[in-house]
Symmetry: D2
Amino acid sequence: MANSKYEYVKGFEQNDTLLPQTWIVIRVDGRAFTRFSQVHGFEKPNDMQALLLMNECAKAVLEDISDVVFCYGVSDEYSFVLRRTCTLYQRRASKLISLVVSLFSASYAMKWTQFFPETELQYAATFDGRAVCYPSESILRDYLSWRQVDCHINNQYNTCFWKLVGSGMSTAEAQNTLKGTTADVKNNLLFEKFNINYNNIPPIFRKGSIVYRKQMDEVVKVEKGEVIKRLRAHIVVEHEDIIHDGFWTAHSYILAVGSKNKQQQALPRPAKPQLPSSLP
Amino acid sequence: MANSKYEYVKGFEQNDTLLPQTWIVIRVDGRAFTRFSQVHGFEKPNDMQALLLMNECAKAVLEDISDVVFCYGVSDEYSFVLRRTCTLYQRRASKLISLVVSLFSASYAMKWTQFFPETELQYAATFDGRAVCYPSESILRDYLSWRQVDCHINNQYNTCFWKLVGSGMSTAEAQNTLKGTTADVKNNLLFEKFNINYNNIPPIFRKGSIVYRKQMDEVVKVEKGEVIKRLRAHIVVEHEDIIHDGFWTAHSYILAVGSKNKQQQALPRPAKPQLPSSLP
Amino acid sequence: MANSKYEYVKGFEQNDTLLPQTWIVIRVDGRAFTRFSQVHGFEKPNDMQALLLMNECAKAVLEDISDVVFCYGVSDEYSFVLRRTCTLYQRRASKLISLVVSLFSASYAMKWTQFFPETELQYAATFDGRAVCYPSESILRDYLSWRQVDCHINNQYNTCFWKLVGSGMSTAEAQNTLKGTTADVKNNLLFEKFNINYNNIPPIFRKGSIVYRKQMDEVVKVEKGEVIKRLRAHIVVEHEDIIHDGFWTAHSYILAVGSKNKQQQALPRPAKPQLPSSLP
Amino acid sequence: MANSKYEYVKGFEQNDTLLPQTWIVIRVDGRAFTRFSQVHGFEKPNDMQALLLMNECAKAVLEDISDVVFCYGVSDEYSFVLRRTCTLYQRRASKLISLVVSLFSASYAMKWTQFFPETELQYAATFDGRAVCYPSESILRDYLSWRQVDCHINNQYNTCFWKLVGSGMSTAEAQNTLKGTTADVKNNLLFEKFNINYNNIPPIFRKGSIVYRKQMDEVVKVEKGEVIKRLRAHIVVEHEDIIHDGFWTAHSYILAVGSKNKQQQALPRPAKPQLPSSLP
């Protein structure tokens, strides 16, 4: 409605549209979470309640934005995969990032009491966000593998570290003990010194969390002894390996996109088909 | 710590650094606030409690980010001015936008009960954000004027509109009555039909809200009859005209930046001075 | 070598890196070529010599930049396809665009006399350039099809238009005659009125020009009656249909890229492989 | 005219508009000029003819683009300053860069024979380009100072280096002799060993070249003994100090821009003035 001689300042806004037809990953990262987790007494190296709260926030994002098809979370970070054909906000990076960050941050504050009924939230947990485009499904999967390998390496190290510290070492001594050790050495240390089989540690710690709309057969009714089923999608939180092909083969619908025709329609400036009839 | 063959995916992240030495404005806008305000029973055309909550969130942002020097809010939007020399997050747009949006959104959820003790928050209020650079103080001031003129025009229209609707008109009739009318006609309508002097409407509705660190003389002590004062900054919320020069002249420290030397130091890649001695 | 207190100004340069692993198309377009072609007496609607000069400039670009794998030219424009794995100039848009434009523009001036020995070059022909990323081979092919359809539609129209004008019509009359006509109507008009079979028009006019490194069997020697051949690449200029699959199936090596491993190596920040051994 | 189902590919083109109201500097740099200068027998450390050719190309750019207000050249590079209010090509970086590079490169090829009548151009000299925005006149001047200090430091070093090599040193010995020496030491070396007063070296080598439209009083006519003059602009090439204020004070019109009103009109989306009459 408003219109004034000052309106020219709108011309300074710059375009930040993300390349069409690429997978968009928006990752949120906790800001200064080392301090936040100390202030709120999070357990080391993993606080189950804090992770469950993160997962709940991710669900809120998935529920709200239909273009989000997959989420992966570890520690104080969460990655959201937006489908390749997404045209929400004309794919403007600032809009997409701020929407995800806003939903995630507000949910964290709102759901805090559910997960920490005895601990008062001292101040707002905040998250920064970024958006990255991946041109193919194969590179997108490498991105997700990167985060899960990261989860594994960090968790293995942190598990050893806090066990050593718990056993009386100083943090400097624990660091020195682990410096340069391979994964096998760390596993042996856990097993021999602390009687811990690393593979028995809860999967949520070892593999992080995935959130997606899982297609499941649902019994609709039983008619004349015949079971009538229907495919239905439910939002689930799981802790699966997403590096190898198994998960993706079993759930190929997650990254599937429609026909090529659909791709074109999904573009900001849709084509007005009019192929010349006499093309050789 | 982690390092894997998948790490190459980091190379897809694109740089979104904002031009150095320009004023950065980050504006957050309520997402689908028409619905949000209906669900939560906000008063029309202005809900005082909702505006006070917005101001409180803006204060949280100003308190947290020292580079924010001025905030202007109207309705469900808030603009944050970051000083020209800001190098926070290397001026990366996505980081700056997400930080402000995260702080604002989380604060809104956390402080809700303070302002709406009787109304349960049904779902998270979310905000999108954008960052715009302005190369000079003069253009930055035009930006702020643009928002305040917008506030004025919208508020005048909405005040008339809801008075007409309150007096029994349908929304369509009210729209028709106001279509194309000048500011004077609207003011007359308010005065003659509803006995309202527009200028007596609370300034927070007519002018929006500004938040900044106000420098004030503070009495430190009285010694031998002499009053010892000190200049101190306090965060204040006011409803002043920011279009004309008056406010800015009285508070010239708000947009002041240090010497040129300081500007250079504030840059991402600081200069290593070594001017050739024999330059003519 | 130089280093001064002024060097901080380098920090204002902004990053314009193109998304990795996408096809880059750089298109150059003649600037004000309507005037340029009039001043230099180009034939209407197509000047064979001018097109051959354009092709020669495209060859110069292909010869110089090994990442250019395919070129398509029509009228005063030329598109250059850079392979998906290209990391030349770290994929900085400004560098890539300026390199192609510089090579093309300088070649045009240098080779002018070869193609127009009797016409003096009155002033420099100039070209603007742009870079666009396409995330998949399929969309890249749609880009090339778009340009070739454009060539066809424009050429058919222009052929009719200039025949009508040549037969005595004013340009306005010719425009009116052609307004809204289908391709069939235009073909009939050419055939019935001017005895021209559109399909007999030289392919360079109807289909534009492609330039690429063609792999050809070459006889190396004949030994004991046996012909020894070797595959060799030669730069060729052709006028083929590039919309249908035929051409691309026959020359699949043009857009082929190496193994996935190679893709990763081609990235700005190459991965340092170190997959954790105990990953489940 | 053309329009097809492939046209959707236009949607992949990304916006690269430069921030309004900032000074734009486009710098072109010779590509692989070490080799180019060897192939064409340029004199070391400075080839006068090559520099004059560069200046002539810069003049061609200044003549063609009215928004270019100042050019500074040294060695194989040239910087072009576009006025702050420039809206050519809607300030799209790729268009502006390619236009300057195209003009410069084509001119270099066309004008070669004028400056090297006896040397055949072996292959096209090519230039890459970049665009950088500077938000204030003061920072723009620092940019130009940076380039001129660079010219000075490089020229002083190169003059010493080639004199030493000319006197029989190997290039490695010359490098070692100069390593870490201050400007004074270099000047002394030139004076004592080679009897060269550095300040007597031609200014074009020491200070580079500037090209601009110089406002000069011109005698229009002499009437009844009175001389009638008029201010006229002529393109000139000079070799002045542009670091200190002197030059800029004497030619303040070069960087001057019109009134504020003009700034607004120069913006991509001009304002439609309609200030509310009753603003308090």
